[in-house]
Each structure stands twice: as structure tokens, then as C-alpha cells.
Amino acid sequence: MSEASIPSKWTSEAVPDALFGGKDAPLFGRRQRRARGPRLPVIAVTGFLGSGKTTLIRALLAKPEGANTAVVVNKYGEVGIDNALLRSSSDVTVLLGNGCLCCNLRTDLQETLRTLFADRARGAVPSFERVVIETSGLADPGPVLQTFATDRGLGREFHLQALISVVDAVNGERNIARMPEAKKQAALADRIVVTKSDIADPAATRRLIEQLGALNPAPVELVIGGEIEPSFLLAEPSSPARRFELGGPDHTHGLCSFALIFEEPLSWAGFEQTMALLTSLRGPDVLRVKGLLAIRECRGPVVVHFVQHVAHPPVELEDWPDRDRRSRLVFITRSLPREAVARLFDSITAVVACSAPDALARRE
């Protein structure tokens, strides 16, 4: 049995390429120019109550770069909503009813996005180019991240391009210290927007940025009045997980972020089994893993993305974003240190390495 033919938990949805793959049968379907492939990008904006999510989104929609955006708003326990304000500046706005996106409204989100996609295809709504989801302040972003991996209908049409966390400089430090949701929102984000630094104590803002750096290696941008370079919110990550300069270990909160770099190409089977083992033993603590991998069986680099026990379908890119061809993985975990994960990878890599054909032959 070749490595590539090992039954794969995460490739089974890909393609029956055994029948129609041809000589150049990519492991994960057609190679893509970018991680989102042809899918519609989704930008999820999360952040604690009053942190400035709506202001940020409104400012984005007012700019030419924000045109052709569909906005899905999910607020919890608020009446009246800022929805009317959003509607005036965006092509399509959908308001999800009261409730929290992370739990009871997740199905509503799926339904809403499916309907939006179908309406767009039949011309009932303008041909929007992206979706911005404003989540309720209390939402745990984990389930939103998972929605685009697990729901086959959505995963095919939509790609979660960025999870933006909005943290306000006045209350952020305290919220992150006291509220697990706020901390998770910051830890899981792809990009972090710090608001209200104009009315916050500069020392507090500095401490907040340090705190964020310890939680998450994501880029941080200071924003006043929602005024932000649109690309910070909208840009496709040209190279996933390229930043490795992490802050110091975050001892007090139990959340860690760290990177693993592999000099040699990995076998897909080895990588997959390592992640399977890791997530089956510690799934709830593997909050998010993003990576760009050199896979032995693939010509191009492979984008991988895990949220707890859920894996987004891997995407093989046509090309590397730069000359660095090493595999790299960024982990956000809870009480799972780098050392333990690195050892697991080393062990399984060693096991795979000695299953070379001549080794098998000797055994027989």
C-alpha cells in the first residue's frame, strides 16, 4: 500500500481521482492559485460588545474597496440593530435574529449563506464578491470557523478568508483577562484590530498589544473611528502563516501559540496521522492550526487548516509564495506546549521514514 492510498479522513471528500485523475492526479483536486480557490471569501468580524465592529464595517463599506460586499449581521440581545445603517452602504444585508452565532444561530447562518449564494446565482441579489459576517459580541469564534469546514454545502461555495478580531483599547485588557470568549476571539484571529486607542491610556494600549502578541502571532493594527486600510481586512493571505515571531509564552491564560518548521517535505500520510492522533487525544485544546506544507506527494504547497477536531479540506496551490520551501505550521492551543507537539511529529515522521519499500521488503 502506497502512502497516498492510506484511507484518509480528510481527503475523502476531495475527488475520485483513482478513476479520472490522469497521469497528473493532484491529491486534492485541481491546484489552486490561492487558498480560497474559486470560492467566495468570507470575512468574519468578531469582537466584544462595544468594541467597534459595526463602525469598522461601516467604514469599510463606505470605501470603494468595500463595494460588492454582502453583510450578515448577528447580534445578541439587542433591539433596533445597526442594520439600517449598514444597509444604506452595502448591496446586501441580512440580519440574523436574536441569538448567538456560536450556538443556536449557526444553522441560521448556514441557511442565510446558502440563500445568499442561490439568490446571487439567479440574479435576485447583486453579484457580490465577498461576505462580511458581524458576529455577536459574545460569540465563540470556533464554531464559525468550523462552519466553513464541516458544512459541505458552504465549504464548496465559501471560504473563510479571515477572522478579524476587534479589541478596544479601553476595555480589551480587562475583557481578555476575565472573559474566556474575549480571549478566544483574540487568540483565534487572523488579524487583530485595536480600536479606541485615542481615548485609552497609552500605557494600557501598549500592555494590550503585548498581551495580544503573547496570545497570537497575528498582525495587529491600531484603528480610530473605523478608518483602516481596506486591505488589512480584505486581502487574501498571500502566504498563510508566514509570521513566526511569537510573543512570550502566555502562562496565565493557558493558551499557547507556537510554530513548527520542517526542513524536509512531509509525507501526507504521516502528517495526516499525526494530526489525527493529536486531535483525537487533545481535540478541544487544539484551537486552531494553520499551515503551508511541502508534501512529498504534491508538486505545489498544501494549505491546511484545523479547528479543534475539524479539518478544512486541504488545498494544493499552483506555486509557492516565495523561495522558502519549508513546511510551517502555526498552532493556537490550550495547555498543549510546543515541545509535546514537536515530539509527536518527530516520532511519526521517524516511523514513516522507516516504512520505505526496501525496509518493507526486508521485513517480509
Binding site: R33, P38, S127, E129
Partner: protein, 405 residues
């Protein structure tokens, strides 16, 4: 749909071709001696014959040459170039008219195409050539009538002919094939007609031959379905297989594009009626692993009929990008690009051939003078730079695009 609907394409330019923007099914790239990239376009109907557009900069296409047809009762719907030679198909409105056949041009100076020869196909039952395939510089494979061919039914007047053009001054027919029963004198009975109004003839439309299988011709045989011919002996083509799915479908199989390495055949219908009268006209994915028994396994998904149904306009499949076996043509055995008239240009990923996935579309706004008030995207070509060229059937002219999927 008033506005342009675009997804995962980027529009580079639009050229209405100075008021003559009705383009047929001939789109071919020539790299001129001075390095310019010339796109030759066949017109849908008289008065224009062909137009040459310099697309070296696809953001700024420029017309460099244009020719009129000698008669208004004819059209030159199809053309191909190989090097500096261009073949143009001539079809007359009625049988028995002239000129019916094809003309070869020397286009070494794109501004001044010079006729090399005219190959006459006219005859009492002939409308001449509807479509031709010219890729290797040696043979033209075409859907044509002939002076000596009397069909059993007037709508079956064209058939498959192979013409040797190695000496462009003296083209010579080397082989032909027709569906048994369609020529008077055949021992087989004529095929059962499709219902009146949907009877579009048992005759070939596209006749594709690729270097991967020089011994095969892939024919969209209109009401006869898809036909694969063995042309290892060009003087005696033999049928390998035929996939005929009409009725219940409404006929007019148009193009067959094999994805050789993946044992798949992509087959398009042509929508020929307005208001959805022949809905659905589809792009089919066919399992070609057993050549003698092609099996349809999927169709490319389409928005529902009422999205794009407009009085006087067609909405349904038509041309495919054909992976032309030429150096200046893009090749893909995973992406299907298909034109759907009012449904625009649509792109599909066939990585999972059982579930083709739509990955992009371009439905331009209706051109100002569109007779039906709708866009009617007719054909598509992609060059090796991955620039996409697509054309409107009536007035819209040429659109240049980049793929962004």
C-alpha cells in the same frame, strides 16, 4: 440582468468592433512575423466575412483588418489559422447557391489577407461548409455538403469531409463519412426525424481531431448525438461509437472535447430556440474509459431557466473551449469553459467529474443595440497567456478577460 455579472473573471477590455460585433464560431490566434498577436474572428452573418484584431495588449484590442463577404446570401461562421494560413468556411443560406465551400488565405501580412484558393463545395443540394477544424496545417476536417451528395432529407445535407491541404493551392478530398441512411442510395433506412420544430438535421457540427489520437475524429452530430470515428485510414472512416440521447433531449449535439489523459469527454449541445423552447441545453461530462460505450455521468450545473429567459434570446449551452492543439492555445483537462448565450461564459472544475463545480462566470450587460435586449455569448478562446476571449453573437463584439479561479 441589466448589469454585468462577473465572478472569478477579470474583464480587461471590450471592443464592439466598430458596429460589426456579431461574431460566429471562429476564433483563432496568429503570431504575426513582427510578433503581434492577431485574433481572427469569423462573423455570425453577412455583410462581414472576418475581422482581425491585434490583441498583443489584451487591454487595448485594435482592429487591423476586416473583409466583406462577396454575397449577402452567405455567412462565414467558422475559421481557423495555422501559421500564416487561414481557412474560412462559406455556407450559403439556401442549397444550390454559390460560393459554398472554404477559402484559404495567406495572412502573412495581417492587414492584407490574400486569397490562395477557393475549394468549391457547391451543388444542387449543398449549402457548403458550416464549420471547419484546421490544426495540423495538413488536413481540414469539416462539416460540409458536396456537389455529388444527395441527402435523403434536405436537413441532412452536410457530412464529415477530410481535405488534404498540404499543398494549399490544390486542396484534395481524401475521405468522408456520413451517418448511414442520410444519403440517397444508402442501404440503411433514414434516421427517424425529430419532431417538427425540433428537427435540426443529422449532420456534423464540430469535427475535432487531436494529436493525442490522430486516428480519431470527435463529432458533435447535431440530432445524431455524439459520434467517435476511427480515421486511421482517412479514406475510409469507421464509426467507433455513438451516444444518442435524443429524444428525450432536444437534439443539436455541438462539440466533443476529449480530456484524453482523464478518459473523459466533454460534450456540448447548442441551444437553438428562444424562450426556453429547447431547454435544457447542456454541457455533459461523459465517461470515455470504454470508447465503444460512452456513459454520461454528469452535466455542468446551470442557473434556472427563468434567470436568463428573455423573449427573442437564447439561453443554453453552445460552444466549448476546445483545447486547440496549437502552441498559442491554453490547455486544461480539468477546467471547462462554455458559452451559454444569455447565460454568458461559465467555467467549471471537473476535478470530480461526477460533480462538476461552477468556478466562475461572466455575463456581460446587454449591448446597447442587442436585438433581443440580451447578451448572446457565442464562443470562447483562451490563449497560452491564459487571456480569455469571448464574443457576442449579434452586436456586442469582443470581450477580453483574465481567469481568476
Amino acid at each position: 440582468m441589466a448589469d454585468t455579472a462577473i465572478w472569478n473573471f477579470r474583464q480587461l477590455a471590450h471592443h464592439e468592433l466598430d458596429g460589426f460585433g456579431g461574431i460566429g464560431e471562429g476564433m483563432s490566434i496568429q503570431i504575426a512575423k513582427d510578433g503581434r498577436r492577431i485574433l481572427w474572428l469569423a462573423h455570425e452573418s453577412a455583410p462581414k466575412n472576418f475581422t482581425a484584431v491585434d490583441v498583443s495588449d489584451p487591454r487595448a484590442p485594435k482592429i487591423v483588418a476586416r473583409a466583406d463577404l462577396p454575397q449577402s446570401h452567405m455567412r462565414s461562421n467558422s475559421l481557423e489559422t495555422v501559421g500564416d494560413i487561414m481557412a474560412v468556411a462559406y455556407q450559403t443560406k439556401e442549397q444550390g447557391l454559390q460560393p459554398a465551400g472554404f477559402e484559404l488565405f495567406d495572412i502573412s501580412v495581417p492587414e492584407n489577407p490574400r486569397s490562395i484558393t477557393f475549394f468549391d463545395c457547391s451543388g444542387p443540394h449543398s449549402r457548403g461548409v458550416h464549420q471547419l477544424w484546421f490544426a495540423d496545417g495538413e488536413y481540414i476536417h469539416m462539416s460540409s455538403s458536396a456537389p455529388d451528395f444527395t441527402p435523403t432529407h434536405p436537413r441532412d445535407d452536410q457530412f464529415y469531409r477530410i481535405i488534404d491541404v498540404k499543398n494549399p493551392s490544390h486542396p484534395v478530398e481524401v475521405g468522408r463519412w456520413w451517418l448511414p441512411g442520410t444519403r440517397q442510395g444508402d442501404s440503411e433506412p433514414p434516421p427517424a426525424r425529430h419532431p417538427e420544430g425540433a428537427d435540426t438535421g443529422f449532420r456534423p457540427h464540430n469535427t475535432n481531431v487531436y494529436p493525442e489520437r490522430p486516428d480519431r475524429a470527435y463529432l458533435g452530430y447535431i440530432d445524431g448525438g455524439m459520434i467517435i470515428l476511427d480515421i486511421s485510414d482517412k479514406s475510409r472512416p469507421k464509426m467507433v461509437s455513438r451516444w444518442d440521447y435524443h429524444p428525450p433531449y432536444h437534439g443539436f449535439t455541438h462539440t466533443v472535447v476529449p480530456f484524453f489523459d482523464r478518459n473523459l469527454l466533454i460534450v456540448s449541445d447548442e441551444c437553438v430556440r428562444t424562450e426556453g423552447a429547447d431547454w435544457p441545453k447542456l454541457v455533459w461530462v461523459v465517461d470515455g474509459r470504454t470508447e465503444t460505450n460512452p456513459v454520461p455521468i454528469a452535466t455542468c450545473p446551470l442557473p434556472p431557466l427563468d434567470n436568463y429567459m428573455k423573449p427573442g434570446a437564447r439561453y443554453g449551452a453552445h460552444n466549448l473551449y476546445e483545447n486547440l492543439p496549437k502552441p498559442n492555445a491554453w490547455k486544461s483537462d480539468r477546467v471547462v469553459l462554455a458559452t451559454y448565450f444569455n447565460g454568458g461564459l461559465r467555467a467549471y472544475d471537473t476535478s470530480n467529474p461526477y460533480q462538476p463545480a461552477e468556478i466562475g462566470y461572466f455575463v456581460p450587460a446587454a449591448p446597447e443595440r442587442a436585438p433581443s435586449g440580451a447578451i448572446q455569448i457565442n464562443d470562447v478562446f483562451v490563449d497560452e497567456r491564459q487571456v480569455v476571449y469571448t464574443v457576442d453573437r449579434h452586436v456586442g463584439g469582443l470581450y477580453t478577460l483574465e481567469m481568476d479561479f
